[in-house]
Amino acid sequence: MATTSPPGMRAAVLHSVNVEFSEAGRGQPLLFLHPGHGNWGDRPFLDALAAEYRVIAPVAPWFGAAAGPPKFSSVQDLAYLYLDLIEHLKLDNVVLAGSSFGGWIAAEMAVKSCQRLAALALFAPVGIKTGGRSVRDVVDAFGVPDKEWQERAFADPSFRFELKALDDTELFIRVRAKEALARYAWTPYMHNPKLQGRLHRIGRPTLVVGGGKDGILRSGYPRDFADAVPGARYEEIAGTGHFPHIEQPAQTAGLVHSFVQEAAQAAQRAPIRERA
């Protein structure tokens, strides 16, 4: 079983909001935004990336043990917070990556400003609504039993677990994450109706990775997302569920790295005009 991020997190206070984040590796900065279940299971992926990048992985307010800002209630709050974090850490040429709910936050950041971004890598992102109004694009995380949710989320049964089997710390984080997710994504459920119409503002190379056995997203949804971002590339990892970065950390990290390298080479050949 994968584990949560280790202790020894760094923290920054951004306009009186406390943000905790882990940091590993050196090189081009890569900001990774965790999915709706928190940072559970992300360590092997982050370690794989840390061989090439300075990997910064914040834990969104309310997802940890501490109370977050009382008025934080929307993905917009998180998007602005992380743009502030990038500025605070004086990061530039950032690879912005996110899984599922974290992919949504990343997209919301990029439509606001790509100034400090180099590229985006979104793993089974949510955040837009492409199915009909009676079609569930994203399985109701608050409406299915945890067992069913895990069966849908993880193609490889070895990643599934009984909640009862978690130790107290892990279970606490798990329960807190669901509480936090409700705060940010209850309604409209897992999307911002305005986001799709703004995705044209993402002026950076974007990779969307889908899991071939993802039972959380409607089949075709990740590709819809890629189609909505100008010039985005869609890749699918056949054997994984909703979290390619957890089930296939090395392969997913490899995809990200080669995409970023290709994008950098392409940028050298033909610099992006609007780039700061």
Binding site: L171, A182, R183, T187
Partner: protein, 398 residues
């Protein structure tokens, strides 16, 4: 000041209570509208009988469920405003966190107050956990929404000089100006329910009537004490008039103890069916404290919902309790008229006095004939004695 006694029914639809989930997911193909039609009229007639017998009446609402046909408390109350003559009419309550328009609630309640001639008791509730799903209401920040909605309703009812502006965090109205205004001035009495000491203190600070449900001897007294702390801290005095407290229990009366217990046992299915909710709608995130959610995940009995202690210290889990245990806890009053009188006065005296006794006297499979007999026995042989009581406490001393 004498104790008021209310007749309450959830208007159950019991013929399908064998289903594994009675809420949220139970398809309405299982509802026969002809049967629902008969039941509505039957339950309304029982409230009318209660009114004639000198009871007050109480209604509530639930959604997507066979346990309660009252999908709108205010709708049934509007009918009863016309169908009854004397009873105080308590809605406990309107689920403030799950309704999107407090101004509309203020309008509905003012209408009911005016139609009934000023008989409305205006109860607001957070709503039980499995109401979150049907309402699609965000379970986070519910109490903040509840208080903002409450404040807007009271402002709407007490502003008489034309439209006012309200731009809160959750609710926005630029021209609030309700017609009619309520008959009771400045507004109908406000009730709020709770099961937590923290909320009880806040309610006490505001001096609002507090309703609590089936907490038995120990839990109820603790809530009243917490209320008194808030009351005192707000400078309202050292003692709380007992008309600030309402308590809900189940009750059945009959000529014989055996028959009364048979009836009460049917009503008690109301509590026993409490766990029949599709997972995970019974535990939406943040509705319960994080620590309580973790305890529930680790619990060997995840369907358990509330454990009470009898006065002798014996733990009783309400979802599986026997009738005898319900009676021991003060959650059910059942027996002959004399026995029920003794059980009730023993309970209310031991918790330090009570102004409003809310009694579920119809529940589950209890049929019309037995319900009417039970109501009539209580109304003629218990209610007059409770009303005539002169030795009951009027002030609660913490």
């Amino acid at each position: 000041m004498t104790m008021r006694v209310y007749h309450f029914s959830e208007q159950p639809y019991p013929e399908v209570w064998t289903q594994p989930s009675l809420r949220i997911t139970i398809p309405n193909s299982l509802c026969r509208p002809e049967e629902a039609h008969k039941l509505y009229h039957r339950y309304i007639d029982e409230w009318k009988l209660a009114d004639e017998l000198g009871f007050d009446i109480m209604v509530n609402e639930h959604h997507s469920t066979a346990t309660c046909l009252t999908a709108s408390a205010n709708l049934i109350l509007a009918i009863l405003a016309r169908e009854t003559k004397k009873a105080r009419m308590l809605v406990l309550g309107v689920p403030l966190c799950n309704r999107t328009d407090p101004v509309r609630i203020a309008e509905e309640m003012s209408m009911i107050d005016v139609i009934s001639g000023g008989r409305l008791e205006m109860g607001f509730v957070k709503g039980v956990p499995y109401e979150i799903g049907p309402a699609n209401s965000n379970p986070t920040r519910m109490m903040e929404r509840l208080w903002e909605a409450h404040d807007l309703i009271i402002q709407a009812m007490t502003t008489h000089d034309g439209p006012f502006n309200f731009e809160g965090e959750f609710f926005h109205h630029r021209t609030v100006n309700i017609w009619p205004r309520p008959m009771q001035q400045p507004h109908p009495p406000v009730w709020i329910t709770t099961a937590s000491a923290g909320n009880a203190r806040e309610i006490g600070g505001r001096g609002i009537v507090m309703g609590s449900f089936m907490g038995g001897f120990g839990e109820t007294k603790k809530l009243h004490q917490a209320y008194a702390e808030g009351w005192q801290k707000a400078g309202r005095g050292s003692e709380v008039p007992v008309d600030r407290f309402g308590y809900l229990a189940m009750c059945a009366v009959a000529d014989t103890e055996t028959e009364a217990r048979r009836r009460a046992d049917l009503i008690a299915d109301y509590l026993r069916t409490n766990g029949q909710v599709a997972d995970p709608f019974n535990k939406p995130p943040t509705y319960f404290p994080t620590e309580a959610m973790i305890r529930s995940i680790r619990s060997p009995n995840p369907k358990a919902f509330r454990t009470l202690l009898t006065p002798k210290g014996k733990p009783v889990e309400l979802s599986t309790a026997t009738l005898e245990e319900f009676i021991e806890c003060g959650v059910v009053f059942a027996g002959t008229p004399d026995q029920v009188y003794d059980q009730i006065t023993n309970f209310t005296d031991s918790i330090g006095g009570l102004g409003h006794l809310l009694l579920m006297q119809q529940g589950g499979h209890l049929n019309a004939e037995d319900t009417r007999d039970s109501l009539t026995l209580f109304g003629t042989k218990v209610l007059p004695r409770l009303k005539a009581r002169t030795d009951s406490k009027l002030l609660f001393a913490a």
